[in-house]
């Protein structure tokens, strides 16, 4: 061997190897000694402690749920709280026949037989020692179970807290809701942190601020006997008489840390005013404070009562809610896509002034229709006989379509798209709540990427024309409309819409107020242009022919507004729109945007009423109620 590789010194190498081997052997002996020392420590020195924990007695770790943070409105009114309730729970490892136990509970009418399978699945997805909440019980149900408790080893009732929303469906879409933790939720949470928690945020604020509201779990060690009965609970029996001193040292309690409270910018008075004004309708209303971006009201109707979810909604009930044609679970304010209609006009007027596409005093004739040069198609005005001679001011006041067809054409789709994006259309506003949609601002590039056929990818002048009155491809959410209106109110100052304005540490009582999130300012738009558009919007509510005059008549504050009517149903070239003749769901959407007081705005609002007909009759009265509630009513005095 060594002859083949003459450089190797076999003897020397063997000595080296042997020395290493001896060192390794010594280390092995040391490590084994360490292991044995540890075993002696556990099995001989501390034997007594562990023997007591194990033999006859068993140590159980009882997780303690943290109290969920409360939610307040901007005036300190409680919007979400925790109230005591009875919970039916099982401890999987102590139950012998799960299916049979559940069946007996169903016979007692404590569980819904339809939920059997999902409850079995729920229990199976937990570890043996975890306490799994099945349902909430009423007082009577809890009493019924309590007398039969001895028939159900491993099943128990415990006092828990459930979420209560005092305003019910009024704040449903603004807050979201909590509900029982599902197997799907278990995948995305830290299980040990939710060991004692039974409710988790599923949507809205409850979901987006889950980490803030939840707090962190506590636990206590209990000594229980083989049947699971608690023999020693240091947390419960502090100062109790009968505790074996010997195992005291190894039992400990860590109290849970409650979640933080949340203060919303929401004003529940406005929320109520808008909600009541929209009773029985479908639509949304959003109010924003222009100086901060705080959302003052966030209404989507029809709504649902979030209390039903926290109390435990059966599958059948959920299916019913989910399949309701009016879609009460759909958050119209954040996710509803609507053509903005004529509410787009103030923004396009501003764009035309800014880009110099329109001389400020330019007048044009409105004959009641508009024809592209070289085409025959008539783009109609809402007023068949025409508005006569119009300027920018009058065409916003009276909502003249023909003037804006021309304006759109001279402005061009590229400028329109760019400006609309600058005021926040066509992209999510970034509000601190899940489920927002981005709307749509059409452009040449968008059309090219959207359609596969070459001939569909071309941008037509006719599409530019109808974009001028907020029809065609353009889509906006009510939140975007309110956000853009707030930008008008603040003359270009922009703030990201937000619901949460402060959090309160429940342990220290320390309040953390978060600063408004300033967005890029529309700084290069001339001051004069803002004033001109503002004046026209005031004209909408005050001038003789103003489209919003009726709804805003007699306000002690001045309102700048704009009505909008969005077509859902396309009419043939010579047809006349007759609301009574077409299906209710194909009627026009009514829209209204406004800010007030016009000279020093403190609120901007956007209202959309689905299939409500014109904006001036369907949407503007809702906005009026919201403005009155904010500007005329006294602030409620709630002691915090």
């Amino acid at each position: 061997m060594s002859a083949a590789v003459p450089l190797k010194d076999n003897w020397k190498e063997q000595q080296l190897f042997l020395s290493r081997l001896i060192a390794a052997g010594l280390i092995i002996l040391v490590l084994t000694g360490l292991l044995i020392a540890r075993l002696i420590q556990l099995q001989v020195v501390e034997y007594q402690v562990f023997a007591e924990l194990s033999q006859g007695n068993r140590l159980r770790i009882q997780p303690l749920p943290p109290t969920r943070g409360l939610i307040f409105d901007r005036n300190g009114v409680v919007l979400a709280e925790n109230v005591p309730a009875w919970e039916l729970i099982v401890i999987p490892e102590e139950i012998t026949d799960l299916a049979a136990s559940l069946q007996s509970l169903e016979e007692l009418e404590l569980l819904d037989p339809a939920e059997h399978e999902s409850l079995v699945e729920l229990v199976r997805s937990h570890r043996g020692f975890e306490r799994v909440k099945l349902v909430n019980l009423t007082e009577a149900q809890a009493a019924r179970f309590a007398v039969r408790r001895h028939h159900f080893p491993g099943v128990d009732i415990q006092e828990g807290l459930i979420r209560n929303y005092p305003f019910g469906e009024l704040t449903g879409h603004a807050l979201g809701y909590v509900a029982s933790i599902s197997p799907a939720d278990l995948e995305r949470i830290n299980r040990s942190d939710y060991a004692a928690t039974s409710l988790i945020g599923k949507s809205g604020i409850e979901r987006s601020y889950e980490d803030t509201l939840h707090g962190s779990v506590g636990y206590r060690q209990q000594v229980v006997n083989a049947q699971g009965r608690v023999l020693l609970d240091p947390a419960a029996s502090a100062g109790g008489a009968s505790r074996p001193e010997s195992s005291q040292g190894s039992l400990e309690t860590r109290w849970p840390v409650p979640g933080d409270n949340i203060v919303l910018g929401l004003d529940v008075r406005l929320q109520a005013a808008a909600h009541r004004a929209m009773e029985g309708l479908r639509g949304a209303a959003v109010a924003i404070e222009p100086a901060t971006g705080d959302v003052l009201a966030l209404v989507s109707v029809p709504a649902y009562d979030p209390n039903r979810f926290s109390a435990g909604l059966s599958r059948a009930d959920f299916r019913m809610l989910n399949s309701d044609p009016d879609k009460p679970l759909f958050h119209r304010a954040l996710a509803g896509h609507y053509p903005p209609g004529s509410t787009i006009k103030p923004f396009l007027g501003l764009a035309a002034l800014h880009y110099g596409a329109l001389e400020p005093d330019r007048r044009a004739m409105c004959p009641g229709y508009f024809v592209l040069p070289g085409h025959s198609h008539r783009y109609r005005d809402w007023k068949p006989q025409g508005h006569g001679l119009m300027d920018l001011h009058e065409s916003i006041v009276q909502s003249c379509d023909v003037f804006f067809y021309q304006l759109a054409l001279s402005l061009g789709i590229d400028h329109m798209a760019a400006f609309l994006r600058d005021v926040g259309f066509g992209a999510r506003t970034g509000i601190d709540m899940n489920g927002e949609n981005g709307g749509l601002v059409p452009s040449r590039e968008w059309k090219q990427s959207q359609f596969s056929r070459r001939e569909d990818q071309v941008w037509f002048p006719g599409e530019t024309v109808i974009t001028g009155i907020g029809q065609g491809f353009t889509l906006a959410t009510p939140l975007q409309l309110a956000h853009a209106t707030a930008t008008l109110a603040a003359a270009g100052q922009r703030f990201q819409p937000r619901l949460v304005i402060a959090t309160e540490d429940t342990v220290t009582g320390e309040m953390t107020v978060s600063d408004p999130v300033r967005l890029e300012v529309l700084s290069d738009v001339d001051e004069v242009h803002w004033q001109r558009i503002g004046a026209a919007m005031v004209g909408v509510t005050q001038d003789l022919h103003g489209s919003g005059r009726t709804a805003m008549r007699g306000t002690p504050y001045s309102v700048a507004g704009k009505t909008g009517t969005a077509q859902v149903f396309s009419l043939a070239q010579d047809e006349k729109y007759d609301a009574d003749e077409i299906d209710e769901r194909l009627r026009d959407h009514g829209l209204f945007i406004a800010y007030a007081p016009a000279e020093n705005p403190t609120i901007a609002v956007a209202v959309v009423v689905e299939n409500g007909g014109g904006g001036s009759t369907a949407a503007a009265p809702v906005a009026r109620k919201v403005l009155d509630a904010y500007l005329l009513e006294e602030e409620p005095s709630v002691a915090r």
Partner: protein
């Protein structure tokens, strides 16, 4: 050679000579220790799985297969083992890559390869093929390895380790790294280098700590002190300490362990079977088991010391030390000395692939010793 010569009483000369049974190589001390440990294992397993004999029979079937593997490998000549080393390494590496692309996911990690007839974990084979490759590489070169050689060795060890770690299978990755690293240590890299590297590692801890984010620090702290999270990561270790501690000196007796039988102890039949043994057979039972393990390790080191060329020396030493690491990591984790990583107790925990690879490595030890050339001295 007659049967009589393999009796231990014949004298030191008999132990030095290759032990052959009608031409077959049989390493008596290894076989005796393995049989003793596995018998103990079956007894404990029967209790750990809730007195189910079918599961124990399955384990016994795996043991039979593993013994066959042991018997076959023991007949190989050390030269053949050496020549085959790079090929075995390449094939195992190929299997590892195949698992990454085409593996079967089980228990949250992609580490199984389905061969139709049976499934196996290629990562297990790496525990043998990495030390083989290291020993093969150093065989033709001078000891101790030069700096360039060390770099190559680093590559040989780290590539499979990282592949296994990303499956993710931290336990096996640590063992594979240990198997290669220990073989390199035996090859004689200078003590200065070892100490130096250790100091650098120690010194970098506070620096790393400063750069870590809060949640990463929290994870490390839970890792070091599982009792701070009794509902999550700490649950296993708390229950296993109770099982061990309550076993005392003599244990609660077979089938009487309450921690295991009342299902408080998780992973009873696999990673935490050491605790079941400690609960039912006490400190004395564990000392017996540790003694048997030490016997196996000792025999392996003896074979390494007797081996006659670099390849067999390094391989025998590396495999023996790896086996000890195996035992120490599992026992240390169960009694709370080490953080929890998924390493089973060798020859005792339920599971097929590790049983086969362990006996294959003992087969290699037997082959090295039984088929070595007797050089006249």
């Amino acid at each position: 050679m007659s049967l009589g010569s393999i009796e231990l009483g014949v004298g030191p000369a008999a132990a030095l000579r290759p032990l052959r049974l009608r031409g077959l190589v049989v390493d008596v001390p290894i076989m005796l220790a393995v049989f003793a440990i596995c018998t103990l294992g079956f007894v404990v397993l029967y209790s750990a799985v809730g007195e189910s004999s079918s599961l124990v029979l399955r384990q016994a079937a795996r043991f039979t297969v593993a013994m066959l593997v042991f018997g076959v490998i023991a007949q190989a000549s050390p030269r053949a083992l050496r020549v085959w080393s790079p090929w075995i390494f390449c094939v195992s590496l190929g299997f590892l890559l195949l698992v990454m692309v085409n593996g079967v996911v089980g228990g949250g990690a992609q580490r199984w390869l389905d061969l139709g007839l049976f499934r196996f974990q290629p990562s297990e084979i790496m525990k043998i093929s990495v030390p083989m490759m290291v020993a093969w590489f150093m065989h033709e070169r001078r000891l101790p390895p030069t700096f360039t050689h060390l770099l190559v060795l680093l590559l040989i060890i780290c590539v499979p380790t990282l592949l296994i770690a990303q499956q993710p299978d931290l336990g096996t990755a640590i063992l594979v790294m240990a198997s290669g690293g220990l073989t390199v240590l035996l090859a004689g890299i200078s003590l200065k280098l070892i100490v130096g590297l250790g100091l650098v590692a120690l010194g970098s801890i506070p620096v790393l700590w400063n750069y870590m984010l809060d949640y990463q620090r929290a994870r490390v702290l839970t890792f070091l002190n599982p009792e701070s999270d009794p509902l999550g990561a700490g649950y296993n270790i708390i229950q296993s300490k109770i099982a061990l501690g309550s076993g005392g000196l003599f244990g609660k007796g077979w089938l009487n362990g309450t921690q295991a039988h009342l299902e408080f102890l998780p992973e009873r039949s696999t990673d935490f079977i050491f605790a079941v043994m400690g609960e039912e057979f006490g400190l004395l039972g564990l000392l017996l088991l540790l003694g048997l393990y030490l016997l196996l390790v000792g025999r392996g080191l003896y074979i390494a010391a007797q081996a006659q060329d670099t390849f067999t020396r390094l391989l025998a030493g590396g495999l023996s030390l790896t086996f000890f690491v195996y035992v120490f990591v599992n026992a240390g984790m169960v009694c709370g000395l080490l953080p929890i990583v998924g390493v089973p107790l060798p020859l005792v925990s339920a599971g097929g692939t590790s049983m086969v690879t362990l006996l294959a490595s003992f087969g290699i030890l037997a082959a090295i010793h039984g088929n070595r050339k007797l050089l006249a001295t």
